[in-house]
Amino acid sequence: MSPQAKRQENKILILATETCAYPGADSVGQAHSTYPANTYILRVRAPVLFPESFYFDCFRKGISGIIVMSCGEECPYDGAYKALAKRLDAVYKKMKAMEIDLKRLRLTAICTVCNRAFLKEVNQMDQLVRELGPPQLEA
């Protein structure tokens, strides 16, 4: 094995809530269901933490796709999901203006045992970023 890994294209960032989606991803692992390896799952408390700029910074840094896996309506933080949805709406508007394919950012709810839904989301995003390649944004 080479000491230096190959540079990986088309990275997907997954923001997964610690109460729902993150254990959901673990459940996929327990089932040994494989999915593309260009996925990086970050455990978050509530994705409402991330400002609009975070998403664009990610795209600028070379992240090809972002999936926000929230708890949806089961969010333990009262009102956070609504605020998050509103935030992402604003992000989408800006993405449109910047001509970034809106499909690169996806908001979805994943539960602790939603293996099927998780795989579907991940595979769809992978398919997409393979087609689109990394976003071409100025750093």
């Binding site: 094995m1 000491p3 230096q4 890994a5 190959k6 540079r7 990986q8 990275k11 960032l13 254990p23 991803a25 673990d26 996929v28 692992g29 327990q30 040994h32 269901s33 494989t34 999915y35 390896a37 990086y40 799952i41 970050l42 455990r43 978050v44 408390r45 509530a46 409402v48 933490l49 991330f50 400002p51 609009e52 975070f54 910074d57 990610c58 840094k61 070379g62 992240i63 933080y77 009262d78 009102g79 956070a80 605020a83 935030r87």
Partner: protein, 598 residues
């Protein structure tokens, strides 16, 4: 705080092949070792084993590291284990981060890609760990005192339970007497205990308990504060004078109860025929029973045949039922009326065999212990049951029959939808339960109210007796229709939460709350607008260099730690301890850099 002088120790687990079969663990170690800030990178067959944990403890003790990253299985399994090890080494457990390279790497990816991904996840974790700082649980002093609002059975039981755990209680009731609706009940379904006996059994110890202060005839004026430190202003009528009371309390329990539905004028003949009464009226009749002989007597008249109609003011359906003046429809089931009605029917049939009973129902809901038996007993007592559909309710009208002033017309689905007239000299409406109107108190505390007008708990299963506001609980029929036993259970559950919260005299809260960097904060106030929890964030004026400036201030006891504030601060002056935005930015950098430039 500089992230550049941190000494990160990385520990990578083989998991006995679970990881190492797919991830080249030694190769990962080689790469990790070269990462900036990483002072130690080690591997072990089982990091969770004692020898594995010992490695961390030794490295911490010998000061080789001051940040710990373990790369192993899912954090849900062993995060607590490794935090424990760090504590045993005398360090703060929050200097730890976890890279999940089993469930999210070796079990889902294979070969080189797995090794690469494991490397990146560790790089991200170690980048994050550099920004971690020691945290202490937030300790809020808490008054060992609870205020229970509502002096019905729920409030009494809650107060007694809490007081018996050695916590002081203020019990506030708006009426002059305690006991609530139990005062107006007679024999309780399904076992026939006397309501007054039940009440007495609970009231006696309440009245005699040193730790309970009772405020009847009292009204809540204001409620302020947060968990452990609420303050209430209460107006109490004493000798026709209003006295203002100040109550400092650690927790609040809402036990404000319910009222009986009043039928609309004309609803099943109510208000139009004097022989149409509510279940509550009937219970009062039975309680004060003056009838002798084999028939029930009402106003001196022998009742030969009575009709009881279920679901009055409950299970209402939009488009079928007429809403109240305020537009409200009671779509819920009132839960207690079936058993209460059957209970009354049995008492009448057993005491007054000459009084016949026809019950008209939609569904008989004798769900609880002893209740199906009640239904069966009613059948044995020769109560005749008839069933109507919601859209074809029974019609009560005057009759020209000499003996029976009323007749009730029903399309009976048990008799193949035949339309029948039942003669009656009394019609009893099983009126349901409505929550008492507590909108004033609820709005003071920002308590959520459901579409059914009952107070709304955080989650019916996870936190059934709590509001999202820490330190405020609820129990009994202010939450939903319940019978006495269920109410007492709910009261006990609310009491246990309050007791657990206050038993230590202080409350330890999660350290993962927002923290303001006062150097950076310029008092924009965007964070305050974004904050989901009113009161958690405020703008306060402080004097800096002689100038008065506004700065955001976190009330840690109220902060949820969601990070909504961090997202909107233009100066990045506020962030969440342990889960900071900056940490995520660094993690993304680590991921995109492929692990080498960090």
């Amino acid at each position: 705080m500089s992230e550049n002088n941190k000494k990160v120790g990385v520990y990578i687990c083989y998991c006995g092949g679970n990881i190492s079969d797919h991830v080249d663990v030694e190769e990962v170690r080689n790469r990790v070792e070269k990462m900036p800030g990483v002072t130690v990178a080690r591997t072990n067959m089982f990091m969770c084993s004692d020898p594995g944990q010992e490695m961390i403890i030794e490295d911490l003790k010998s000061d080789k590291i001051d940040r710990v990253v373990v790369a192993s299985c899912a954090p849900s399994l062993h995060e607590a284990t490794f935090r424990g090890a760090i504590e045993r080494a005398g360090s703060n457990p929050f200097i730890y981060d976890h890279a999940n390279i089993r469930e999210q790497v070796s079990w889902v990816h294979h070969g080189e890609t797995a090794t690469d991904k494991a490397t990146l996840l560790i790089a991200a974790a170690s980048a994050k760990s550099k920004l971690l700082k020691p945290l202490e649980p937030i300790r809020v002093e808490a008054k060992k005192h609870t205020t229970v609002i509502g002096g019905g059975i729920a409030g009494i039981k809650t107060a007694l339970d809490i007081a018996q755990k050695g916590i002081e209680v203020a019990l506030i009731e708006k009426l002059p007497i305690l006991g609530g609706r139990l005062n107006s009940l007679d024999r309780l379904a399904p076992f026939g205990e006397k309501a007054s006996d039940i009440l007495k059994e609970l009231l006696d110890p309440v009245l005699n308990h040193n730790a309970i202060t009772i405020h009847t005839d009292s009204k809540i004026e204001t409620i302020k504060g947060y968990v452990g430190n609420f303050s209430l202003i209460v107006t109490k009528k004493e000798n026709n004078k209003d006295i203002k009371l100040n109550i400092e309390t650690g927790a609040i329990v809402m036990a404000t109860g319910s009222v009986s539905y009043t039928p609309l004028n004309g609803e099943f003949g109510f208000g139009q025929h004097e022989q149409v009464i509510t279940l509550q009226d009937l219970i009062t009749l039975l309680k004060e029973n003056k009838s002798s002989g084999s028939s029930l007597e009402v106003n001196g008249k022998r009742i030969k045949n009575m009709v009881m109609i279920h679901c009055v003011g409950s299970r209402q359906i939009p488009g079928i039922h007429q809403p109240k003046e305020n537009g409200q429809l009671n779509e819920y089931c009132s839960r207690t009326c079936c058993a209460a009605l059957l209970n009354a029917a049995n008492q009448i049939r057993e005491k007054f065999p000459e009084t016949g009973i026809y019950e008209m129902y939609r569904d008989i809901r004798t769900y609880g212990r002893g209740q199906e038996e009640l239904y069966e007993q009613a059948s044995k007592n020769k109560v005749v049951f008839m069933r109507y559909e919601a859209d074809a309710p029974p019609v009560v009208s005057e009759s020209n029959h000499s003996e029976y002033p009323l007749k009730v017309k029903i399309t009976d689905s048990l008799t193949f939808n035949e339309v029948m007239d039942v003669p009656a000299d009394l019609v009893v409406l099983a009126t349901g339960i409505e929550p008492d109107n507590v909108s004033d108190i609820a709005s003071m505390m920002k308590l959520p109210i459901g579409t059914d007008q009952f107070l709304l708990e955080v989650h019916p299963k996870l936190r059934p007796v709590e509001f999202s506001i820490t330190g405020i609980f609820l129990g009994g029929t202010c939450q939903a229709p319940m019978d006495t036993g269920e109410t007492c259970n709910a009261a006990g559950a609310a009491a246990v939460k309050a007791s657990a919260l206050l038993s230590k005299g202080y409350i330890e809260l999660d350290p993962f709350v927002a923290e303001v960097n006062t150097d950076k904060c310029q008092g924009h106030g965007a964070c305050i607008e974004a904050c989901l929890k009113e009161g958690a964030l405020t703008l306060t004026e402080v004097k800096i260099d002689g100038k008065i400036v506004k700065k955001a201030q976190v009330t840690a006891a109220m902060c949820l730690g969601c990070g909504a504030c961090a997202a909107v601060c233009p100066k990045k002056a506020i962030d969440i301890n342990g889960w900071a935005l900056k940490q995520y930015e660094d993690m993304v950098d680590a991921i995109v850099s492929d692990g080498f430039a960090v």
